[in-house]
Amino acid sequence: MLVLAVALPAVGALAVWGLRRRPEAHWIGAGAAGFGFAAVALLPVGRGSGAWFAADGELTGGWWHQVAIDWAPSLHLEFSLAVDGISWTLALLTALLGVLCCVHNAIGAERRAADLLGADRSASAPLQVPAGTFETGGPPQGPDRVLGLRTGDRASAPLQEPPATVETEGPSPAASRAGGVPAGRDPASGSLQEPPGSFATGGPFPAAAPVHGVPAGAAGDGPESTEWHSPVLTALLLAVQAASTLVFLADNLVLFFIAFEAVLLPMWAIIHRYGDPAARRRAAAKFALFTVAGSLLMATGLFAAVADTGTADLGAIILHGGVSGDASLLVFALLALGFAVKAPLWPLHSWLPDAHTAAPTVGSVLLAGVLLKLGTYGLIRVAGGLAPDGAAAAAPVLAVLAALGILVAGLVCLRLPEIKRLIAYSSVGHMGFVVLAFAAGTEAGIRAALFGNLAHGLVTPLLFFLAGALKARTHTGSLAALGGLRLAAPALAGLLGFAALASLGLPGLAGFWGEAFTVYAAAERGGAWLALAAAAAFGAFLAAAYLLRMLRHVSHGPVAPAALGIGDVSGAEAAVWAPLVAGTLLLGLVPGPLLDLFSEGLL
């Protein structure tokens, strides 16, 4: 089941990409994501059958399940997966968002196809021109140039891809022996290599772009129209889902690093290829460079830990109390730097607003819901687990930065003029809460951090979905140009209000528990930490201020010209958003079971 959870989306990614010309490709992708979700959801079945560890003479809990397959022992590399309450919830969130994004994509593509078929041909004809260019592999022009990929092998690209994939397996040579994947294709069964490989050769894209997803308005009649809903986007989403699930489930530090890096490439491609045309290249480059710089530091820290302990088994190192005292602070600092970029912790956050703003809706959803969680998960489990002494020593620095991040993000949000950028910046504040709670280091703090982490993964994706729907309808994200949504589309406005209330930490909704008990954890430490607790509480007030400002601009007032005559929430959209709304309510009203899961987790 563990392996299936990773393999199903990976295979799905390959299948969708292979079948990208077929109309049902989207639904194959959604199905693969759905099966992946089911595999993750079934993980608690038979839990406790995994190994239980004794530490300090006490049974402190352990993995639910474990799988280990030798891969490259000389490199300490082992395909070893394990799951417990902490990683399972995050993997489940990842799988859920993966399904929702794929379904969103599929629905969007169908609607566009229907629109185009129904609309008069003359209107859609110009849009088809670039598509034709792509399919014939003609000279690069128009959007094609934006790819910035090598154009030499374009003409023969579709033929070349399988070999290309094999060639680019360099960075992680043994991926093909990953074992767990029962797929028939021998060279590329590792979940990670396929999409990155494809990118490096530039093969699939030119051919893939136009296929079924009808590149409506690719020539650019509005920022949102470049969301192509192409099957390749679905394939990339599945690749992100597979790699992120692998990060959460990895029990081997080297494998963890490989998976961590593998998330980056499809995400880069999503932003670079399908983002807002004005900003996507720059944002994607910034995102990639920033994150790579961070993960190189993280890799150094990981290898230092491996060298110090002589094993790369994450669970074993955690149970033995981490690395030895001397190396602890160094290891933690290196790891924390790497994860702080991803989380992101102020002041290492500046890639995030650009990336979120430029990314397509599904990209933003995955960025907020999954990628940021990689950073916090790494910080809490890997950095905190490998070097608990170092974490304790560095806690004040982390806490002060986190509190500063909460305040600065809140203040910046008060004057941001664009809705997606505002939501993106609010993530910096929310992640500040998570890091602050982790830095406080008390039992309540860790649980609050994990809870806040998960809650943010439900609420912010919902906000991004809503903002995406809003932008698609009104063709603008500028707060000044919006207004009267409450009259124009009451259900959409209602949902936006709900998401905003959840995001500002309204008690009874998911966001509350993490943020309130961050304050508690900081207060628990006493002394100067009380000031940080006050800063966090004030940050929650700022969150209310900027979200109400957003609602006032978007929902209230007379109907703005841009919002005139827009459609309200469709049934399909409601179906995609409903799980997030339900999850937000459920976590808010019944936080107990989730906290119990965390309490038996391995930290």
Partner: protein, 600 residues
């Protein structure tokens, strides 16, 4: 005793379901069913006084309990809150008969009611906090109800933000209390260290000041009148504004006695200041809004002398007469067909006998005329202050006496201005039956609530004859002030002068304008906050965008590019340049190597 949860679950479920309902009839039935079930449950709980507790969230070092404690006092408040909510639902079904957004309105009233009942019943501070803030969020939604009213969104945001600003302190206080006591259970908060208790209670007091619109956070309440009148009744009568005083009574055992003087000062300033503002206010709902602030000040005064039951008694009787006054005011404004400004709203007593008597009884109760409920509860508060031989008691006793004079004065002013200037004489539409039912019910409650003094759940001081005399004198003095001004300005007395403004607020003289504007506090605060927020936000943006992003991040990218260019140029240059670079490089490496060698 998990059945006690029906009290909160019924209106909450009805509210959540109501959000999904589009049809008006279904929304209305859900609207009635929620508070009705809660009312039945609250009445039943008054006999059983159930307590229940299960763990809601386990944070390792501390647990949050889903714990309810329906003590007799809490039950009385719960009955009042549920009853007012039910009457407001009945009333608003008629009041908003032409409003297309009635369905979400009814649902939000239900959620609001559930949140208030949670605050009343909760035995755990975090659980209480849930109700506390959900109530704030619902008030935001309800005040912003009128989509076409330009000031509604701003007023709603102001209400939410000011109370949320208080909540910053409230949350901190709750968390400090929790860390000091190791639990959030209100019934278990016994052994709290003095220092932590003092800090926590001052923080919680600030939160309650925000919620109850006391000085200095009273600024949100007057603009909140932009909401529909039933919402004003709901917020002011038995729920949100009273919640602050209620929470303080629950936490009275934790208060360090010396610090109660702070509460006394807050209560004294608020009672008198808000009374003056009410005397000068320019519209019907404005008078009632300021009077609420002043009356909640009486509840704070009772808290300041550690008389929790007196505070609750005044809360319940205030719920009856203020609910009545607001609902009647809605009918008055509708009958007069104005926007509610006192200059234009005028009726004759004969226009609607029900409205006239409802208003009269409500105002008399507020002024404290026996045997109405307001008389007994005010007597209970001042009696407790009289008996408490503390500095706090002295402060609130005299401030309360002064505020009683003012109460009588502004009640009489409102009554005279509304009914005795002669109406326009047009035919008035009949009052809808649902609205008149609510008025009848609240009128009866206002008259009867005094009975709680003799047979109620509250332990209140016995009636002091001298105090009663003083209170009656104060009330009559207030009437006299207003009546004197009214009599002097009667038409025809000064011949030749046009009979215009007979407003008794003239007694305030030059300060009248300032009081009518709430001493400009709202405008000043708005300006200061907006300016401060703009400056801080600009500074943060500059820090974030200029320094972090442009300089540090992109600067490092530029530096890398420049270094790359430099290195490339070095390699491309002539042999001499290359040699020079090599020599310099070797030298640097050598120095570093020697340095490292010496150091180790």
């Amino acid at each position: 005793m998990t059945a006690a949860w029906i009290l909160i679950a019924a209106p909450a479920a009805a509210g959540l379901a109501g959000l999904l309902v589009r049809r008006r009839a279904a929304a209305a039935w859900l609207g009635y069913a929620g508070p009705a079930a809660a009312l039945a449950c609250a009445v039943a709980a008054a006999t059983a006084n159930p307590r229940t507790a299960v763990v809601l969230a386990d944070f390792g070092t501390v647990r949050v309990w889903a714990a309810l404690d329906l003590a007799p006092g809490a039950c009385a408040v719960a009955v009042a809150a549920a009853a007012v909510s039910l009457l407001v639902q009945l009333y608003s079904a008629a009041y908003l008969r032409d409003d297309p957004r009635y369905a979400p309105f009814a649902a939000q009233v239900n959620l609001f009611c559930a949140a208030m009942l949670l605050v009343v019943a909760a035995d755990d501070l975090v659980l209480l906090l849930i109700g506390w803030e959900v109530m704030g969020a619902c008030s935001y939604l309800l005040i912003a109800h009128y989509a076409t009213l330009p000031q509604a969104p701003g007023a709603a945001a102001k209400a939410f933000l000011v109370t949320r600003f208080g909540d910053v302190a409230f949350v901190l206080g709750v968390m400090v209390l929790g860390t000091a006591a190791g639990t959030f259970r209100i019934s278990a908060l016994t052994a709290v260290p003095e220092g932590a208790a003092a800090a926590a209670m001052l923080l919680i007091l600030f939160g309650c000041i925000g919620k109850s619109a006391q000085f200095p956070l009273q600024i949100w309440l007057p603009p909140a009148m932009a909401g529909p009148t039933p919402v004003s009744a709901l917020i002011h009568a038995a729920t949100m504004v009273a919640a602050g005083a209620y929470v303080l009574t629950r936490l009275l055992p934790v208060w360090p006695p010396g610090l109660l003087l702070v509460v006394a000062v807050v209560a004294a300033v608020t009672m008198v200041g808000a009374g003056l503002c009410a005397l000068a206010a320019r519209d019907v709902k404005g008078v009632l809004a300021w009077s609420t602030v002043s009356q909640v000040g009486f509840m704070f005064a009772a808290v300041a002398v550690a008389a929790g039951d007196s505070a609750l008694f005044h809360l319940v009787s205030h719920a009856a007469f203020k609910g009545l006054l607001f609902l009647t005011a809605g009918v008055v404004i509708a009958l007069a067909g104005t926007d509610g400004s006192l200059a234009r709203t005028r009726l004759r007593p004969g226009d609607s006998r029900l409205v006239f008597w409802a208003m009269t009884i409500g105002l008399a109760a507020m002024a404290g005329l026996p045997p109405l409920g307001g008389f007994y509860s005010k007597e209970a508060v001042l009696g407790a202050a009289y008996e408490a031989a503390t500095p706090a008691g002295v402060v609130v006793f005299w401030a309360g006496t002064g505020a009683s004079i003012l109460t009588a004065a502004y009640a009489a002013r409102l009554w005279l201005l509304l009914f005795w200037r002669g109406g326009s004489g047009e035919a008035r539409p009949a009052v809808p039956r649902a609205e008149s039912f609510s008025l009848w019910a609240l009128t009866v409650a206002t008259v009867a609530v005094g009975a709680l003094y003799y047979a109620g759940p509250f332990e209140v001081p016995v009636l002091h004859l001298d105090l009663m005399a003083l209170l009656l004198l104060a009330t009559l003095g207030g009437f006299a002030i207003t009546g004197d001004s009214w009599w002097r300005d009667r038409p025809g007395r000064r011949t030749g002068e046009p009979v215009g403004d007979r407003d008794p607020a003239r007694v305030l003289g030059r300060a009248r304008e300032a009081f009518a504007e709430g001493l400009y506090a709202e405008r000043l605060a708005a300006k200061a906050t907006v300016g401060l927020a703009a400056a801080a936000s600009a500074a943060a943006t500059a820090l974030d965008v200029r320094l972090v992003d442009r300089t540090a991040v992109e600067g490092s990218a530029r530096a890398a590019l420049a270094a790359a260019d430099g290195t490339a140029a070095g390699h491309r240059g002539g042999l001499v340049r290359y040699l020079r670079l090599s020599a310099a490089g070797t030298l640097v490496v050598a120095v570093v190597a020697i340095g490292v060698g010496l150091w180790t």
